[in-house]
């Protein structure tokens, strides 16, 4: 079985400061990893994905994530947070072979204070 853990229900950060939203995963074999963002009253939007290759993945809106195989982590980062980044963030995983459905974490609410 595959699973995703987002250990923080909420992350608070001041505007302009760096932010990290944590994600660890469990999957047999190699993973495909994704981050999605959900703004209020809007659908999930794709941010970035790790497929293979460079462990540092860059995505939309200045976000990036680092794949760490030994720690089975895929933390989301941004060097300088904006108030408009405040939203609900979901990490997701699937195996490279077999089942295509994504397994999502429970979500982390990011609150950026002005």
């Amino acid at each position: 079985a595959q699973s995703v853990a987002q250990p923080e229900d909420q992350v608070n950060v001041a505007e302009g400061n760096p932010l990290t939203v944590k994600c660890t995963y469990s999957v047999s074999g190699n993973p495909y990893l994704f981050w999605y963002v959900q703004y209020p009253n809007r659908g999930l939007q794709f941010l970035l994905k790790y497929i293979t290759g460079d462990n540092l993945v860059k995505g939309s809106y200045g976000f990036e994530a680092e794949f760490n195989k030994s720690q089975t982590s895929f933390h989301l980062k941004k060097p300088s947070a904006l108030v408009s980044d405040s939203a609900l963030y979901f990490c997701a995983v699937r195996k490279t072979e077999g089942r295509r459905a994504l397994t999502f974490g429970s979500g982390t609410r990011l609150q950026v204070q002005p």
Binding site: L44, I51, R100, A101, L102
Partner: protein, 116 residues
């Protein structure tokens, strides 16, 4: 271009009634997924379509839930004899499929189902 659309956006029904939820995927996307998001929780996978066949139905919670897809377009999720625990946001997603099956899924805005 047009994204994934879902209808209705909100549905309130009485316990025991049947409901149908509709999803229009992005044109050309052969893969279609249904997920459920309960309040304050992550997404739960329900069913996956490749074309009009469903190779993975493992997430359907009971035989009250069923889904079908017409060709590579519209999909309908049907919940029979709704229960209060079915209240959730039902999300549909589509993606290109094929050999590059790691394509990201594009999500619709969801249908918020409330069972009274």
């Amino acid at each position: 271009g047009a994204g994934v659309s879902q209808s209705p956006s909100n549905k309130v029904t009485e316990k025991g009634k049947d409901v149908e939820l509709r999803c229009d995927p992005i044109s050309g996307h052969t893969a279609l997924y249904w997920y459920r998001q309960r309040l304050g929780q992550g997404l739960e996978f329900l069913i996956y379509f490749q074309g009009n066949s469903a190779p993975d139905k493992s997430g359907l919670p009971s035989d009250r839930f069923s889904a079908e897809r017409t060709g590579e377009s519209v999909s309908t999720l049907t919940i029979q004899r709704t229960q209060q625990e079915d209240s959730a946001v039902y999300l549909c997603a589509s993606s290109r499929a094929g050999s590059d099956s790691y394509n990201e899924q594009f999500f619709g805005p969801g249908t918020r189902l409330t069972v009274l």
